[in-house]
């Protein structure tokens, strides 16, 4: 991550900007956007809420009439629900990537974006967690997958990757929510001290009586240090396990040893891209230009680019082997992808995943919010298409040609997919008005590193190692 020497003066200036502000000014700069809710904000909430309600209606319709209201058939037993499930689990990866990995690496630019990233993880996982339920034929029996002593005298089948999924996702959801909350406590206390009314009562509860003593800070740093280490294997395992849902079967194009790392890398790619997309939007919506600056987008853009290169490598390594393996069904599937009925999806996947890598290599794209937004949105179009190809594309072909099939989505599926996108945006929007979006204490901590010191008559910008 070393930066070109010519970049340094400008970015240093930017960092020192915050050093000139007092603590009270920073508190206000973060709190004010939370308290302001314009009519446009409520219009957005209303629109998202309407989409969610429509999606819930579609889900009710699905439960009432059966899975037949979706476009599934034999052999395409899994479709958009599983596709979107994989997509949301993928999105959830960047939160931990940013906050845990970068916290351990002491990458300083993580500071203003950790909270947004962690919230993204939690909400994306909530959306992902809906799909294994939605796609069940008998959703009202979902608890049969939960291991507890019961009157059926049955434990779930721990050989099944779906069980691993359930365990991994719950672990990750609990872990990432706790991680989000831990880092939130000092800011809840800060918000408690600056608000009144219902907000004061809420923050007083959430702040857990935080006073900011030396002992409290010590414990918080220790807990965050432990969490950062512990959550990394969890986050690696989650998407590996999602990939094994596919890879443990002998379905052509699924049965691949590279799937676990390939899925993890793809998840990081799409998750980081989604984070960049969200940050650009939130920065605009909440006027956080002072905190989310070019240097942060620059660094994040580079990470997206590197993840994209890694994705390309893994994709190619998988594709090449399958192509040269030339198994009849795999050959047919690759034929369909490259020149058949899956070709539009295939080329969309390739263009939307590869083009942003080239774009993000340019500093101007990384630091211009509009261009960054466009290229990272493109990444997620590509990654969604990739999952569609894997789930829906592969299932259309199998070893006996008589069993080949097609797939058409229905309004029920599309509405439910739209519901989770709107639901995610709605939760995130409301979250940004209730919780300080920028982690104030982390900002202040980082600010200590870049300060102006008076040496004689001269003000000298200094950088220090802290922590």
């Amino acid at each position: 991550m070393s930066e070109a020497p010519t970049d340094r003066p400008l970015e240093f200036e930017e960092r020192v900007l915050l050093a000139k502000r007092t603590d009270a000014e920073i508190n206000q700069a973060v709190l004010q956007p939370m308290l302001r809710t314009s009519p446009r904000f409520w219009a957005l909430v209303g629109l998202l809420g309407a989409i969610v309600i429509w999606g819930l209606y579609a889900w009710g319709y699905l439960v009432t009439w059966g899975i037949g209201t979706t476009g599934k058939n034999r052999p395409v037993y899994w479709t958009l629900f599983i596709t979107t499930f994989v997509f949301w689990v993928g999105i959830s990866h960047a939160g931990t990537m940013i906050s845990a990995v970068l916290r351990l690496l002491k990458a300083d630019w993580r500071r203003p974006i950790t909270r947004g990233a962690e919230a993204m993880t939690a909400f994306a996982l909530m959306m992902a967690g809906l799909y294994p339920l939605i796609h069940l034929g008998r959703v009202w029996k979902f608890y049969w997958m939960i291991p507890y002593p019961n009157n059926r005298f049955m434990w779930p089948n721990f050989q099944s990757p779906l069980m691993w999924d359930l365990v991994a996702i719950f672990t990750y959801l609990i872990g990432s929510t706790l991680y989000l909350y831990l880092a939130l406590i000092p800011d809840m206390a800060m918000a408690r001290d600056h608000t009144n009314g219902w907000r004061y009562r809420l923050y007083r509860i959430l702040g857990l009586g935080w006073r900011g003593t030396q002992g409290e800070w010590h414990k918080l740093h220790r807990a965050l240090g432990i969490f950062s280490v512990v959550i990394i294997p969890v986050f690696l395992s989650v998407h590996s396990i999602v990939s094994w849902d596919f890879a443990v079967t002998i379905q052509p194009r699924w049965h691949s040893t590279i799937f676990a790392p390939y899925f993890v890398v793809g998840a990081i790619y799409s998750g980081l891209a989604a984070l960049a997309t969200i940050l650009v939007i939130v920065r605009r919506g909440m006027q956080l230009q002072e905190f989310l600056r070019a240097e942060h987008f620059n660094a994040l853009g580079r990470l997206v680019m590197i993840a994209g290169m890694a994705w390309t490598y893994f994709w190619f390594a998988g594709f090449l082997v399958e192509w040269y393996g030339n198994e009849p069904v795999t050959r047919e599937l690759i034929q369909q992808e490259v020149a058949g009925h899956l070709a539009p999806l295939f080329y969309l996947q390739m263009v939307a995943n590869l083009l942003p890598i080239a774009l993000l290599a340019l500093r101007r794209v990384r630091t211009t919010p509009g261009l960054l937004l466009a290229s990272t949105l493109l990444v997620n179009v590509g990654m969604y298409t990739e999952r569609m190809l894997i789930v829906i594309g592969s299932l259309q072909r199998n070893d006996l040609p008589f069993n080949w099939g097609t797939y058409r989505p229905t309004w029920v599926e599309l509405s439910i997919v739209a519901m989770t996108f709107a639901g995610f945006a709605l939760l995130y929007t409301l979250f940004s008005r209730i919780v300080p979006y920028v982690p104030v204490w982390e900002m202040k901590e980082g600010r200590l590193r870049y300060s102006l010191r008076r040496i004689g008559r001269l003000l000298v910008p200094t950088a220090a190692e802290i922590e």
């Binding site: 034999r74 037993y77 029996k141």
Partner: protein, 246 residues
Amino acid sequence: MAKAEKPSAEGAVSGIPRRWAMVVDLDRCTGCQACVVACHAENNIPVVGEEQAGYGRWMHWIIIQRYWEGEYPNVKARFMPVMCQQCTQAPCEPVCPVFATYHSPEGLNAQIYNRCIGTRFCGSACPYKVRAFNWFRPEFPEPLPEQLNPDVTVRSRGIIEKCTFCVQRIRRAELDAAAAELTLADGEIQPACVQTCPPSALFFGDLNDPDSRVSQLARSHRSFRLLEHLGTDPAVIYLKGGETNV
């Protein structure tokens, strides 16, 4: 599933009293679909209608797969009845989170409807794609309810079902034989498809009995098993068809 089930070359399986198996003589199959009808009647399988069937939602437990061979005008139709292969190493079994798909003690690949929650993981894992899902609530328009088989459950929507080798008939024959203190003779048990097949293309019996009809047929030089390279060790043995299958 780590039992010491080492099948011999003929497909017999040690450790279980009987290895139920079916032999499909492709030379004799005319593709008449009588087995499909018999199966629907015996096992209370709903009929989904033209539109749904066209979209790949037929519920047949036995499927006459039809393949065209050659170019017009020298075209041949080849028929291959495919039902659940009752694999010894079944890919569908380990993936079910709730043990709805499991290996019964007598070596059959059982589907327990009451346990199924409808993840359709078994369907995705099955290489033969013989698992049917109840996409909607099954309907039996009049007068079909009059002929529902009381020995077989009517399934609800949202669950997977598949060929059982007519396990209800196996059970009944075994119980009757035990009550009369007789041993089951070869060929005494006939699944509905075997019983119905007009050209007698289907045979059912015990592979662990080396003298049974299916064991003899399985030793034929024409015998093969579907997608054998996948290592699923199916209990359905096909006899290769020749020129007569036109």
